[in-house]
Symmetry: C2
Subunit: 432 residues, 2 copies
């Protein structure tokens, strides 16, 4: 982790270019491999799924064992700590409560000469949630992906997650899914799972939208099927940016930077401060705290490659840097964080003040922790209820109201050489 | 156009499979070509743009002539019919008025122990609008793509559109853009335009989101850059589905089917009716009206390949068929269209009653005519203000509020083996 001073000769362009190297868009080499898997699943369905699961997950399933059974879910409950289950339920309540506030209503507006225009909101019918397997299990991620779909009113929510070598799914994943009412869970991971959700197999239903994090194969598969189905977004490596002034507590800042860095070697932790003194204090604290933590190797690699302490001349400049980087997580730890927040354009989640550390948002606060990564907060949003609904425009006109527009529509259509469009209006008035 | 009766032995699966053949997802052959263009523009910027424009548009531009000049815009006004300009302005007012109603506000909710959670709405900063060139000019499409961005508050809106062999842009396109306040217009089309918008060149700025229709190269280029920037959606061929009962006017229905069919040979026009008598009457009227229209060849091809009259047993069954096809445009021309609308799940725009023909929505009503095509209304929405904003979660906790959750967050983090996450909470309370 190095201290960089921003001045006339030194911009953040290098920082941004370095961060962007992490994006899946630079991993095109895997794309062909992924396309082969998708085509195979499209053509050979369950057979392809079973064969890839044997190849990649080292377990031979059958059509009858692809789906998690009720008794597997029951067994899982016996393996999960009661206290953890209580916390999961509390988190679930908080997440549901926040997402309820995101619900939108259908609306219309009308005029007395007989025009009615509106927007109908309806939930998508089928959602597929991908849950990564492997050693690290993230029950919080299951909650965050599933709950917006439930709140939106999605009728069918199914889940896929890779099995271990014994063909089992992590019990905590099963319990959390079941707590959310999800029981259609299929033992399949990787690009083959995304292909199954996008095209359907004999066992796994086709869905309308696929959400959930995954490795590079999963990310590329999601991009490949985008358009045939919808997806949440292309998840890249995670990052935090903290804007702090001299009033911040350097220990808190250091701890929060480290909490991001521990995710993986590509994670990025960035402090932007107008106080050189703060910059040095935080650097000291990062060194000290690293010694107290597990995952030391990941921490050191991620901080070395993607950790930055950027010293700027003013908090305005800090905001500019932050807007340019468009971080997934942004902490604002300054004297007046709310006023500074008004100037923030691009960030997935904004944590204000010194008692709003990023892990609060990961687990318990309620807002979604599935956030736009790696600069995509310039145009993507946190996962939410909006991701599981779609809109239909509503248009209803009286004869009188259409009559008022008829000549203009006909002339407009004629200007675009679309005579059948014009005709559709004319036939409604030609016998008057 | 053939009449198909839906019964136990005859489902709409064949219809749907035939329609889906039209999707760009089946045109992977072009993908490599498109990727080559994108890579070249990424590397060689303006130079690549100029060379592709020479190759594809047959005109040699320079860095100095890539951008439309104020005097070109001034000249364009002299070439546009005054009456048409008046209609464009009226359409613009209606479209703006509808899209104003789509605006969302930032919100927050707070509790007295010091929690504040919310959602901040901000406009994306840079939007790029692609406008197709060629003989057919669609001023309405310019309005529909640009106005939601303006209403959302996008600061920088730029436009690209291919030049003709003289290096000129259609005057109507320039006038309509200027009416919307868009003056940053670049003479470039095809995949190279999309690449320029996604990566930027010396002359053309990089944007955050690309919208606008285009041919297969444009569609594939948009898909390829998706994730690096955002895009509206992958536009496919257009379609209309009309649900009509015996009360409908067969001439109106026929005219509306034809207005869709004239778009291009891949357009699809579908009538679903519970009245066999209506089916035959509409078929007669389609034949009769075709004789009165231009674009006869397109009409005949599109109706032959993708035109259907589907006879069902009940209006409920008609709704099921429509929900399965998820049409871009849906007209409901029945005795009680509003009650039937409540059962519609998937449609881009829903036109209710016999004086709400689809061309009304194309031009003048106000709702956007950029709609999800080819079944994607199951998960995509009409273009709108939402497409040009993004959300940031806001999280602010007091020490007291964080204190109430501290143990749960620590335990949750530990269960995910994320000890630095736990540490970020612990440091805030360890000296208490």
């Amino acid at each position: 982790m190095n201290i960089i001073k921003i001045n006339e000769n030194n911009t953040i362009d290098n920082v941004i270019n370095n961060l962007l190297q992490r994006t899946p868009n630079y991993y095109d080499d895997y794309a062909n491999q992924v396309q082969t898997i998708i085509n195979n699943v499209k053509d050979n369905k369950d057979e392809a799924i079973i064969s890839y699961t044997e190849k990649f997950d080292k377990v031979k399933l059958t059509k009858d064992t692809l789906k998690v059974t009720p008794s597997e879910i029951k067994e899982a409950y016996e393996l999960v700590d009661d206290e953890l289950l209580r916390i999961v339920r509390r988190a679930k309540d908080n997440i549901e409560s926040f997402h309820q506030k995101q619900k939108k209503y259908s609306w219309f507006d009308s005029t007395t000469n007989g025009t009615l225009l509106g927007q109908k909101i309806s939930a998508i019918s089928w959602a597929g949630v991908y849950v990564p397997g492997g050693k690290a299990v993230y029950p919080s991620s299951v909650l965050m992906n599933v709950i917006p779909a439930i709140v939106a009113g999605v009728e069918h929510i199914i889940m896929t997650t890779p099995p271990d070598k014994e063909g089992k799914i992590n019990p905590l994943t099963l319990v959390v899914a079941n707590e959310c009412g999800i029981t259609d869970i299929y033992k399949v991971g990787g690009a083959q799972a995304i292909a199954a959700l996008a095209y359907g197999t004999e066992t796994i239903p086709k869905v309308d939208k696929i959400v959930g994090p995954g490795n590079i194969y999963v990310a590329l598969a999601k991009k490949a099927v985008y358009g045939h189905v919808n997806i949440d977004s292309i998840a890249g490596p995670s990052e935090i940016l903290i804007i702090a002034d001299e009033t911040a507590n350097p220990t808190y800042i250091a701890a929060d930077l480290l909490s991001q860095a521990e995710h993986d070697e590509l994670a990025s932790s960035i402090l932007v401060t107008d106080s050189e003194d703060m910059a040095h204090k935080v650097l000291e604290e990062v060194k000290r705290l690293t010694g107290e933590l597990s995952r030391k190797e990941i921490l050191e690699k991620s901080l070395k490659n993607y950790g930055y302490i950027i010293v700027v001349n003013s908090l305005e400049e800090a905001v500019d840097v932050s807007n340019e980087i468009a971080p997934e997580h942004l902490e604002v730890v300054t004297k007046d964080p709310f006023m500074l927040m008004t100037k923030i354009k691009n960030a997935g989640a904004i944590f204000l003040g010194e008692y709003s550390p990023e892990p609060l948002g990961d687990y318990m606060a309620g807002p979604n922790h599935v956030l736009p990564t790696n600069g995509t907060a310039k145009f993507f949003s946190p996962l939410g209820v909006d991701d599981f609904i779609k809109k239909s425009s509503i248009i209803s006109y009286s004869k009188e109201a259409l009559g008022e527009l008829q000549e203009d529509i006909i002339k407009f259509a004629d200007s675009e050489q679309l005579t059948a469009h014009a005709k559709s209006i004319k036939v409604r008035f030609e016998n008057d």
